[in-house]
């Protein structure tokens, strides 16, 4: 079908708990998302057929849109007399998504490249096995056996390099005889993407016991990483093996007009498309109940990480454990006993569908969300590094010695930060989402922020493979909710000392002029289609996005929150004393109008009206 003929598009995302359907229609102004329906996902017992949930979600779209789409339990395609849709497409993360084990010779070289390939293809990486991962050989075998992944990606060695290390890993896999998670009568798919010279040996070791696929080496030389062939092989095998054995997916794959994509892979695709089209660097985050995915596109380089146990309901207790209670409590303007915090968090863990009913409870969840975002981003940066072992021979030694590589993610060059997930997309006030993103990621210089209105990025990702223009139009018009722009200062921060002076001309009213000292934050209201003229003069050595000590003069786009001048420092400065810290937090919250008024909180600077 020619893309020009696509006037009505139906897309679903089959999540672990909910199947979300959206309808996209061509209007005079372009493609728009016009309707949305959802229903519980039906992969697990008693239904065990994903299409039941898909049909239920589509029925909701039918009811809301008034457009008949189904006939006899099937989707009508293409459009006939105002009925049906031109194409139906879908993504899926139901049934736990794509769960992979990756293996490579050296943990921070080929194993890390393999991890990047698997994550970029939309997988959850259950474990990374490497020759030097610190585990004894029999422990590695036991681990491979107990995991039951959907697929294994085996890498190792540069072309022409070591053979024995990678064959050793293949032997561990053969000895473990791992069983696939789904379809127990089938052989486990294994992709070999390592040293070309080891192919025959790996084939001899694994081809009888596993469904072996051999693809190009992900690390053909120390200086190059070639992830695309392995990613493609993963996604093909995802459809052939994993999806084909998941309940109802054989039917679903017959309905769709394009291959079903793993949800995170689709999100990555739309982000890459947007970054490429706009020529920007961007970071996206999807914070869920159990996991947090971070995506980044920097200078065209795409990477995704998934923090499997950082989420704000099922995994909330793990966030507290990893962040430490004092790092959660430091975000609260009210005193809360550490034991009480732990009890509340554990109670949310065991009853994850409950929602905050009081403002202090909401603040607590937002504090934990900040920690989850920050931890997930930290993990992302650890994988978003230049290739290790490159150029200098001694760096190979550094790799073994655990020397950390620098992340190539430069926050000063970040143009757009996009958040999605319930705690961000459904925060009672948009300013709450903006501040959580600012606190979790600590952008520096000038950065635009936005949230995904109803988490339709998966749908648009799979659509971008079919009709890129339609996907981009919907992304710009209906998916992104601009929050505004953050201008954050970095430099020699000294609490209470002058950080910058500003002159801001908001879209309405008089220009605002004044100074900000370190530790202050200020909001200037500017709506979604509006912008502010900003003239910021930093103190000596301070950088607000134009370079140290240099003035920043530019237009800054507004959004549902506005333009924020952030002089809280990077990393954000907190007073040592608990009382003083709580007063300062209260001032930040007040300055950005984050919550309804709190008893005893000081009012801070807030300008420009609403």
């Amino acid at each position: 079908m020619r893309t020009g003929q696509l006037n009505v598009i139906l897309a679903t995302d089959c999540g672990s708990t909910t199947t979300k359907a959206i309808l996209i229609e061509k209007r005079p102004e372009g493609y728009r998302q016009t309707c949305r329906g959802e229903a519980p996902t039906t992969v697990e017992a008693p239904f065990e057929d994903v299409t039941r949930g898909v049909l239920n979600a589509i029925e909701e779209v039918e009811e809301l849109s008034g457009r008949p789409i189904l006939e006899g339990g099937r989707i009508v395609t293409p459009v006939q007399d105002g009925r049906g849709v031109d194409i139906y497409i879908s993504t899926s993360s139901a049934g736990g998504g794509l769960q992979m084990l990756v293996a490579g010779a050296v943990k921070s070289m080929t194993a890390e490249s393999a991890q990047r390939a698997a994550l970029g293809a939309g997988a959850i990486v259950m474990d990374v096995i490497a020759t030097n991962d610190g585990r004894l050989p029999h422990e590695k075998i036991a681990r491979i056996r107990e995991l039951s992944p959907d697929m294994i990606l085996l890498s190792g060695g540069t072309d022409g390099g070591t053979v024995s290390h990678v064959v050793e890993l293949a032997e561990y896999i053969a000895a473990a005889r791992p069983r696939p998670r789904l379809g127990h009568t089938f052989r486990l798919p294994v992709i070999f993407a390592g040293n070309r010279d080891a192919r025959d040996h790996v084939r001899n070791t694994l081809s009888e016991q596993t469904a072996l696929t051999i693809t190009e080496n992900i690390r053909p030389t120390l200086e190059t990483e070639n992830l695309a062939p392995a990613r493609t092989a993963i996604q093909d095998l995802f459809l052939e093996h994993v999806m084909a054995h998941a309940p109802g997916y054989d039917k679903l794959m017959q309905w769709t007009g394009a291959p079903v994509m793993p949800t995170p892979a689709a999100v990555g695709k739309i982000m890459q498309t947007i970054a490429e089209r706009r020529g920007i660097n961007l970071i996206g985050v999807d914070i869920g109940g159990a996991t947090t995915d971070v995506f980044s596109v920097f200078d065209g380089r795409f990477i995704r990480t998934v923090s499997a146990n950082l989420g704000v309901s099922y995994s909330i207790s793990n966030v507290l454990a990893e962040a430490a209670p004092e790092n959660v409590l430091r975000w609260l303007p009210l005193p809360l006993d550490e034991g009480d915090l732990k009890n509340r968090v554990k109670n949310k863990m065991v009853r994850p569908t409950t929602i905050p009913q009081t403002i202090p409870d909401l603040m607590m969840e937002h504090a934990l969300s900040r920690c989850a975002l920050s931890l997930a981003f930290q993990q992302h940066r650890e994988l978003a590094t230049e290739l290790r072992g490159v150029q200098r021979q001694r760096e190979v030694g550094e790799v073994f010695a655990g020397v950390e590589a620098e992340s190539y993610i430069d926050m000063a060059r970040l143009d757009l930060l996009v958040g999605s997930g319930g705690v961000l997309s459904h925060a009672p006030r948009r300013a709450q989402a903006m501040l959580m993103l600012m606190d979790g990621f600590e952008p520096v210089g000038v950065t635009e922020l936005a949230v995904d209105s109803i988490f339709m990025m998966p749908h648009l990702g799979v659509l971008s493979g079919v009709h890129e223009e339609a996907a981009v139009q919907v992304f710009e018009r209906d998916c992104l909710v601009p929050l505004g722009t953050c201008i954050a200062a970095t430099g020699p921060a000294r609490p209470g000392k002058e950080c910058l002076s500003y002159r801001v001309k908001p879209p309405r009213g008089d220009a605002l002029e004044g100074d900000l000292t370190w530790g202050e934050v200020m909001l200037v209201a500017a709506g979604t289609e509006e912008s502010c003229e900003v003239d910021v003069r930093p103190a000596r050595g301070v950088d607000v996005g134009a370079g140290p000590s240099r003035a920043l003069v530019r237009q800054c786009r507004g959004g549902q929150v506005g333009v924020v001048l952030d002089a809280r420092g990077r990393p954000i400065l907190f007073p040592a004393g608990a009382e003083e810290r709580r007063r300062m937090i209260a001032r930040w919250l007040s300055a950005m109008d984050i919550y309804p008024p709190l008893p005893g909180a000081d009012a801070g600077p807030r300008h420009g009206g609403t």
């Binding site: 995994s315 034991g339 509340r344 009853r351 009913q357």
Partner: protein, 376 residues
Amino acid sequence: MPHAYTPGLQVTAATTVRKARLLPMRGDVLVKEGQAVEAHTAVARASLPGDVHPVNVVNRLGIQPSEIRHYMLKDVGDTVAAGEPIAETKPLLKFLKTTCPSPVRGTVQTISEVTGQVMVQEPPRQIELPAYVRGRVVEVMPGEGAVIETRAALVQGIFGIGGESNGPIAVPVEGPERVMEWKAAERDWAGAVIVVGSLISADLVRAAVRGRASAVVGGGMEAQELYGILGYEIGVAVTGAEKVGLTVIITEGFGRIAMAGNTFNLLKSLEGRLASVNGATQIRAGVQRPEIVVALDEAAPAPPAAEGSGAADGLRQGDRVRLIRQPYFGSIGRVVDFVPELQQIETESRVRVMRVGLDDGRTVTVPRANVEVIKD
């Protein structure tokens, strides 16, 4: 009549409980359909493959991988004892001989001429799967396991640690709000399932372990005490494999919370009866809650089957509910009515709410998501 779908924990004096007892891998089923089983009756058996130990023979002997077969004393499929040489060098002078022993008793699985590794696999380990509950076999899945059905009293908890165990119920406290001091637990419990009121402490659990109790069941537990018991934090509620010496189940939540009256009274009425308990909890992907199952006599009429744990069910006016979020966390009451339109709550979120008449006389408005039905 308006109603809402709200998750709940089952607390019932008599229901039909079905337990699928499945082997972790294929094996032999030892029972027949219709057969009566006790909790300890083995229903299925399987051989778990032994651990595999790689032995780097070439490094040990200082030879090339391609030469390995020349030096091997054992071939693929041969059995070896722990410490028995599997390969050795053949020098002219015997005292220069180097041997490579097997680290474990087992069978030689593979010999690699690429890496020079030999895999030795330990013998398979037999495991037997007990029935867990007293009842009758209603279905046999050849090679996989069996389903046991029983009429039973069932109490589901909110969170637990430790796996399956059995023992008679003991209720040494006077009421659901009471706290059992750890010193009072310093006695021989002879495998009992102890019901301790509103609070479980780490000291109490340790005393119960010393006293050979099978399980401790209480209303609540401070989160810090859970750390005290385990020595590590539980980040995600997937439990059941903890090795703390017994099973621990809380019925209400974290903090000091009196056990719901009907739960306590039911357990009190079952004092002395044999209970099957399981602390395994899994909140995601197929909810599993910890449980106490007490098989009843077969003669009594069978009530309708209970559908799984934590199943969603319709909540109606007058139903008994537990409030599960601040500011009313732990309070119990009855549904007064449902407000059909979305309402703005203190946080400014617009959500579906209901009004609940609490046992202390207050009527409060709460989000429907923050209510749990108490099934009785």
